[in-house]
C-alpha cells in the first residue's frame, strides 16, 4: 500500500514515514502543501495523510482540489486542531478520518489499515484464497496454517494482490502501490519481488500456485481450476 504524507514538521514527518515504511507501506512525504497536491494528483495512493496547517496550501484546500479532480483516495487528517468544529469541517470537506496530534503510531496504523480495507471493499482484516490467508491488522500471512516469513515489502505485495484477487494487476500498478518515489520505474524490482513471493508462499510441493503471470498484462492471484 502506498501512502502520501504531507506534514510540515520535519521531525514528525520523518518519524511517521519511518514507522509506516517499517510497517510495510510505501511512503512519499513532503512538508509543503503545493507539493503535496501535485503528488496526490500525479500518483496513485491508497491513503493520503494530510496536516491542515501547511505552508503553501492548507490541507483542507488540498483535499478539496483532490476531490474536485475526481480522486476518491481515502484521506486522513493529522492535525493539532482539536475542536469539534475543526473535525466537523474536515470530515464535511471529504476527509475519511481525523486524528489529533499527538497520536499513537499503533492507532495511526490501525486507521490506515481500516482505510485501505475500505477502499478495497474488505470489512474483515482476514483475507484468504485457497489455503493462503493474510491478517491485515497483524500484518501476517499463513498458508495451510503455517506462518509465512515475509519481509514488509513482500507482505505489502501479497496484501495488494490478495485485495485484488482474481483481477490482473499490472507492474505499473504494483509499482505505484507498493513502491515509493525513490524506486526507479525502470528496474525489475517488481519481477524480483513476485518471484520471491511465489517461492515463499509455496510452502510445500503440493501447494498449488496462486500467483500467475499474464503475458503483457501483469499478474493475477487466483486458484486455477484443474
Amino acid at each position: 500500500m502506498r501512502i502520501l504524507l504531507v506534514e510540515d514538521s520535519s521531525r514528525l514527518r520523518d518519524a511517521v514515514a519511518k514507522g509506516l515504511r517499517e510497517s510495510g507501506y510505501a511512503v512519499d512525504a513532503t512538508g509543503d502543501g503545493n507539493d503535496g497536491l501535485w503528488m496526490a494528483q500525479e500518483n496513485s495512493y491508497d491513503v493520503l495523510l494530510l496536516d491542515i496547517m501547511l505552508p503553501g496550501m492548507d490541507g483542507l484546500t488540498i483535499l478539496e482540489k483532490i476531490r474536485d479532480g475526481g480522486k476518491q483516495t481515502p484521506v486522513l487528517f493529522l492535525t493539532a486542531k482539536d475542536t469539534i468544529a475543526d473535525r466537523v469541517k474536515g470530515l464535511r470537506r471529504g476527509a475519511d478520518d481525523y486524528l489529533i496530534k499527538p497520536f499513537a503510531l499503533e492507532e495511526l496504523l490501525a486507521r490506515i489499515d481500516a482505510l485501505c480495507r475500505r477502499s478495497y471493499q474488505q470489512s474483515s482484516p482476514k483475507v484468504s484464497i485457497d489455503d493462503l490467508e493474510i491478517d491485515t491488522s497483524a500484518k501476517t500471512a499463513s498458508r495451510g496454517g503455517r506462518r509465512l516469513d515475509l519481509t514488509a515489502r513482500e507482505y505489502a505485495l501479497l496484501e495488494y494482490l490478495m485485495m485484488r484477487q482474481g483481477a490482473v494487476v499490472s507492474r505499473t500498478e504494483i509499482e505505484e502501490h507498493i513502491y515509493d518515489e525513490l524506486v526507479s520505474p525502470m528496474s525489475n524490482v517488481v519481477d524480483s519481488a513476485i518471484c520471491n513471493l511465489r517461492r515463499k508462499i509455496a510452502t510445500s510441493e503440493s501447494s498449488s500456485p496462486l500467483i500467475h503471470t499474464r503475458r503483457g498484462q501483469g499478474y493475477v492471484l487466483e486458484v486455477k481450476k484443474k
Binding site: 510540515d8 521531525r11 518519524a15 514507522g19 496530534k101 499527538p102 503510531l105
Partner: protein
Amino acid sequence: MTSIRKRLVIWLLIGLSIMWVAAGAGVYYSVQRGELARLDARLAKLDNTIRLVTNILPRHMLSDDIKPPPKASNRGESPPRDQRSQREERALRDDSRSRALADRLENLSRENGCQFQIWKPDGTTILKSPNLDEKNLKKPVNLKPGSPSFFDMSGKDGKQMRAMAIMFRPKGFGFPRLRGNDPAGRRPGAPPPQNVPVRRPGGQPLQDTPRFHHLAAIVTTDAGPMHQTMANLLLGITGIGILAALGSVTLIQLALKSGLKPLDKLGSKVALIDASSLDGRFSNENIPRELTPICNHLNELMERLEESFEREKRFSSDLAHELRTPIAELRMMSEVALRWPDQNNSDQAKETLEIAEQMQGIIESLLTLGRYENGQTEIQPEQVDISNLGRSCWKPFAARAAEKEIRVNLDIPETQTLETDPKLLRLIFTNLFSNASEYTPTGGVIDITGAGEMNDIILSVSNTVSDIDPESIHHLFERFWRQDNARSDNNHSGLGLCLARTCSRALSLDLQACLDQENRIVFNLKRTNEEKSSSSSSGNIA
C-alpha cells in the same frame, strides 16, 4: 453578613415605632390636657360660687376691724328698745344667713362633689365644705392674690383630686374706700394711692373703712373619672400601638418582599451565569429605575469577562496547539525508535533535545510574560548605553542575516543612554532583532536606528517583508500569532513580539508597529509621558 432587607426592616420598625409612640403620646397628652382644662374650668366655676358664698358670711369673720355683735346673754343691762330691735334684726339676719350658708354649702358639696376650705391669713379656717367632716385640707402657701394655681392632690380617702388654690378678697369688700369726698380727688372705686394710709396715724383705722382679709381658699374636685378616662385611653393607645406594630411588621415585610423582588430576580439571574453563558446580557426592560445602573454595570462586567474568557480560551487553545506538535514529534520518534531501533541514536537524541528546547522556550516565554504582566518582577533601573546594548543584542543574529544576504544598517548614536532596566530592554531588543532577521526575505534590508532629535523614539527597527497583510499589523503583538499559520518554523513560537511589548509596558515604554510607505514593517520603541515624567530630571537621552 449585612442584609438590606434586615436593615430596612429594623430602620422602618424603629421609625414607625417612634412615630406611633409620638402619635400615641400626642393623643394622650392632648386628651389629658383637655380633661384637665375641663376640670380646671369646673374648679374656677366652683371658685366663683364659693366666693359668692363668702358674701353671705358674717362681716366680722372677714375683717378684724369689725367686732362681732355682742351676745344678749353677756349683757348686764338691756339695751334701749331701738338698739334691741336692731340686734334682733341682725340676729335674725345672721340666722337666716347661717341657714342659707349651710344650705348653699351642702348643695355645693353634694351637687358638685367638691371639697373646699377657706382660711384667714392667720390660718384660721373660716369655712370648709361639710363633706370634709373633721379633716382639713392643706393650706396652700405662696399664693398671690388673683392668681389661681391648679394641682393634683390626694383626697381624704386616697382619691385623686384636682385642686385649685386662690387668694381673694370677698366680693364687694375690696380696697377700703374713704367715705365722703376723696381729698385726693380720686374717682369712686379707683385704687388708693400708695401713700394714702389706710389707718390713721396712731394705728386707728380710718372712719368706716374696715380692712378685709385676703382669704386663701382651696377647692378640689374628684379627678378619678378623668384618671379613669386617661387610663382607658392609655390602654386603647397601647393596644392600637401593638396592633399597629404587628401590622407594620407585616406590611414592611410585604412591601420589602415586593420591592426587593426585582433585586432577587436579578440575583437569581446572576447566580446562573457561568463560563458558558457569558455571551448573555441583562435586559433593562421591566427593571426598576434604581436597578438600571446595576444592570448596565453588570452588562459591562459581562462584556469584559467575555472578552477575557475569549482571550484565555484562545490562549489555551493556542498553547495546546503549540505544544501538540512537539509532543507528537517526541511521541512518534520514541515509538518508532522503540519498535524499530537503529544505530543512528545520536541524531534522534539531537532532535529530542531540540524539541525539548523548543518546548522549554515556549514555557519560559509564557512564564516571563506572566511575571511581567502581573508586575511580579522588580524593575531595577540603571543608566543603559543604548548603542552598546543594541550592538550586543544584534550579534547573535548577524550570522543569520549574512546567510540570507540581508543588508543591515545599524545607526544608534554613541551618546544615547536611558535610565531603565537593562535586562528587560535586552529582552525587547533581542525579540525585535530576532523577528527582523527571521522574517526579512533573502537580500532584504534591516534598519536599526536610535533616538531621533524631534521625537520620543528610543529605537526603531524596520525591515523589508515579502508578503504581509496590512491587517496582520493589528495581530502582531498577540500571543502565538504568526503570519504563517502552518507554524512549520520550529524556532519561533509566536511569543517574541508579545513578550517585547509586555516588557516595554513594564518599563513604561511604548512599542508600536506599522507599515511605511515602502511597505516595510517598522517597530518603534518610544518613551511615554509616564516614563518621561519619571526621568525628566535626569535628562536620560543624551
